[in-house]
C-alpha cells in the first residue's frame, strides 16, 4: 500500500479491517511512546503515530493526510508503504533476532549503506541517493517486543523523517512466519513526494517490496538471487 499526499484519487482505497487494526496498534504504540518521553521529540514522532491512529480509526487515508497537515502545517507529501511476505521454515524468533540487530539491515535493504548501533535504543543510519551522496540520520527504537514487533523512528533533524515497524506473526502451523513491514516517510516542508521518491529510488513502494523480498530470500535460501555481473552479449 502506498500513500501519496495530496492526492484525490486514493479515497477509494479503503483499509481492510486487519490493516486498520494494525494501524491502530502500531500507531497507538507510537503515540504512547512519543508522549511518554518529554523530549521535544518527538513532536514528529507523536504526529506520525497520531496520524497512524487516526488512519486506523477512520479507515480513510485522506483524513490522515488532513490531520498530518493540520498538526504539522506541512502541505508537503507523506508516504506510507506496507508490505507483507511469508517466510518458510523460520520461526518468528529467528527472524526477529536477525532484524533486531539493525546492523544486518543493509544486507537486504538496497539503498541502506550502513547502520551503526549507538546504544541500546539509538542507531545511526546512512543511505545512498542516486546522486551518489549519502544521507544520514539517527533512529530511536520505540518498541521492542521480542519475537513479535520492532518499531523505530528517526529523531528530529533528519533530512527525511521516517519511521518503521516490522511484525512477525506465525502463520498456520507449517506455513511459515508472516512478516509485515510498514515504513513511513515525512519530508520537511516544501519537499514533494517525487523528491523522496528520488532519494529512495524510483518507486519507494517497489523498492521496499524488493527489500522485504530480499529479506525473505536471504532467510529462506541464504542468499539473494541476482543476475548482476552475469555474462551477456550486450554492446
Amino acid at each position: 500500500m502506498e500513500l501519496r499526499v495530496p492526492s484525490s484519487d486514493n479515497s477509494s482505497d479503503k483499509l481492510s479491517d486487519s490493516e486498520r487494526l494494525g494501524s491502530l496498534i502500531v500507531g497507538g504504540a507510537l503515540v504512547l511512546t512519543g508522549l511518554s518521553q518529554r523530549s521535544l521529540l518527538r513532536n514528529l514522532l507523536t504526529v506520525s503515530g497520531g496520524s497512524l491512529v487516526y488512519h486506523g480509526v477512520m479507515g480513510d487515508k485522506s483524513l490522515q493526510n488532513k490531520l498530518m497537515e493540520a498538526t504539522t502545517g506541512l502541505t508537503a507529501s507523506s508516504l506510507r508503504v506496507e508490505k507483507t511476505v511469508t517466510i518458510q521454515n523460520k520461526s518468528p524468533e529467528e527472524l526477529y533476532t536477525f532484524w533486531r540487530n539493525f546492523e544486518n539491515l543493509p544486507t537486504f535493504m538496497k539503498n541502506l549503506q550502513s547502520v551503526r548501533i549507538v546504544n541500546e535504543t539509538r542507531s545511526h543510519w546512512a543511505a545512498k541517493s542516486p546522486m551518489g551522496n549519502s544521507i544520514e540520520w539517527d533512529a530511536e527504537m520505540l518498541i521492542d517486543r521480542p519475537n513479535e514487533l520492532i518499531t523505530w523512528a528517526s529523531v528530529p533533524g533528519a533530512d527525511v523523517a521516517n519511521s518503521g515497524s516490522v511484525r512477525f506473526t506465525p502463520a498456520y502451523p507449517g506455513r511459515g512466519t508472516e512478516v509485515k513491514l510498514i515504513l513511513e516517510y515525512s519530508p520537511p516542508g516544501g519537499a514533494i513526494t517525487d523528491a523522496i521518491a528520488k532519494v529512495f529510488n524510483e518507486s519507494p513502494k517497489q523498492q521496499i517490496g524488493e527489500d522485504l523480498r530480499h529479506f525473505k530470500m536471504l532467510m529462506e535460501t541464504g542468499e539473494i538471487a541476482t543476475i548482476e555481473g552475469q555474462s551477456s552479449g550486450r554492446r
Partner: protein, 391 residues
Amino acid sequence: MRAVCWQGTNKVQVETVPDPKIINPRDAIVKITSTAICGSDLHLYNGLNPTMKKGDIVGHEFMGEVVELGRKVKNVKIGDRVVVPFTIACGSCFFCNRQLTSQCDNSNPSPWGVEQLMGYSPSGLFGYSHLTGGYAGGQAEYARVPFADVGLFKIPDGLTDEQVLFLTDIFPTGYMAAENCDIQPGDTVAIWGCGPVGQFAIRSALMLGADRVIAIDRVPERLQMAKLSGAITLNYEEIEVGEALKEMTGGRGPDAVMDAVGMEAHGMGLEGFYDKTMQALKLETDRPNVLRQAIVACRKGGTVSVPGVYTGLVDKIPMGAFMNKGLTMKTGQTNIHKYLPKLLEHIQNGDIDPSFVITHTMSIEQAPHGYEIFKHKQESCIKIVLKPGMN
C-alpha cells in the same frame, strides 16, 4: 566464450562474450557439452516476448561438466557430469517444499514485472526473457547455475548426452503433461502438436497406461515419428479433427485432451486470420486455436492438459463449453526437479531412449541456421542438439 545471443526478432548471433563467474555462494559453473533449441525458444526468436533484451544469452536445455563451485555447494564435485533443469529453484520455499519447483518463490531476481501480469511470479528460468529473471542461458560454452546444490543432477556412467539431455525440459514436460491428464485404464488421450514435447507426451501417456493416444499435426515427418511412438495420427489439414475424434471414441470424445502447441498455433481459415490479426494489433498476445479446439473436442467431465507455452492474453476461449461440460484444466511450467530422478531411472531401465527425437546435431556456431530450419520446419527438422565443442 562463444554464446548464442538474441539480437532481435528473427535474429540470433553467436558471439564472444565474457565467461560466466560465480556470483552467489550456491552457484556453479558448468562447461556445456550438449545444449538444445527448444520450441519455446522460437517464441523468443519470433519476437513475441517484449522483455527480451538485445544481447541476452538464450537456451535452457543444457548439460555438461562442473568446472567451478560456489562455497556452499557440497553435493557435487568438480568434474561431475550433470544435467540442469530449465526451471531454477531454491529448494526451500513453500513451493519447492511441495515439489512445485517451477513456482519457486526465490529464484526470480526481478519479479516486479511479471507480478503486474500474473499476480505472482513463477520461478526464474534460464535464457527466457526478463519476465522470468533474465538469467543467461545455456546455448553457450559455459553457464552459471544458481542454486546449484538443488539444480544439478549427476548422470551415471554409461549414458550418452543424447539420452539424458532432454531431462532438462522436454521429457519431463511431456511426462508432466501426460500425468496431468489423470489417465485411467481405457482412456483415450488426444494430443495436439507432434513437436518434441508432443512426442514425449505421447510416449509418457502410453507409459502411464493410456489405452490410445491420438496425435494431431500436419507435418508428415512429425506425424510419422508420432506413429513410431505408438500414436494414432490425424493430419488436421486433411480431416476435420473434432468430428474424427468423436467418431474414433464411439461418440464420447477423448477422455483427456492436450495442447502441446501453445501460443503460436497455426490456425486455419477465418479463425487463424482473426488471431493473427488480433496478435498483430496487440489485442491479444497469444493465438489459442488449439486450446479452443481441444476444449470443444474433450468429452464431458474430461481433462485439458496444457504444456504449450502461453505468456499473456488470449481471446475467445470457449468458456461456456469448458464450464458446462465440467472440464478440468491442468498446466504450468514443468516441475523438473520432481520428475527428473524418476525419468532418469526409466532411461537407465531402457524403458525409453529420448534420443529418438533428435533430427539434427550441429556446432553451436551454426545455431542461427538451426533456428531458421527449426522455425520453418525445413530439412525435416524436429529437434536440434548444439555441440559447443564441435567444429
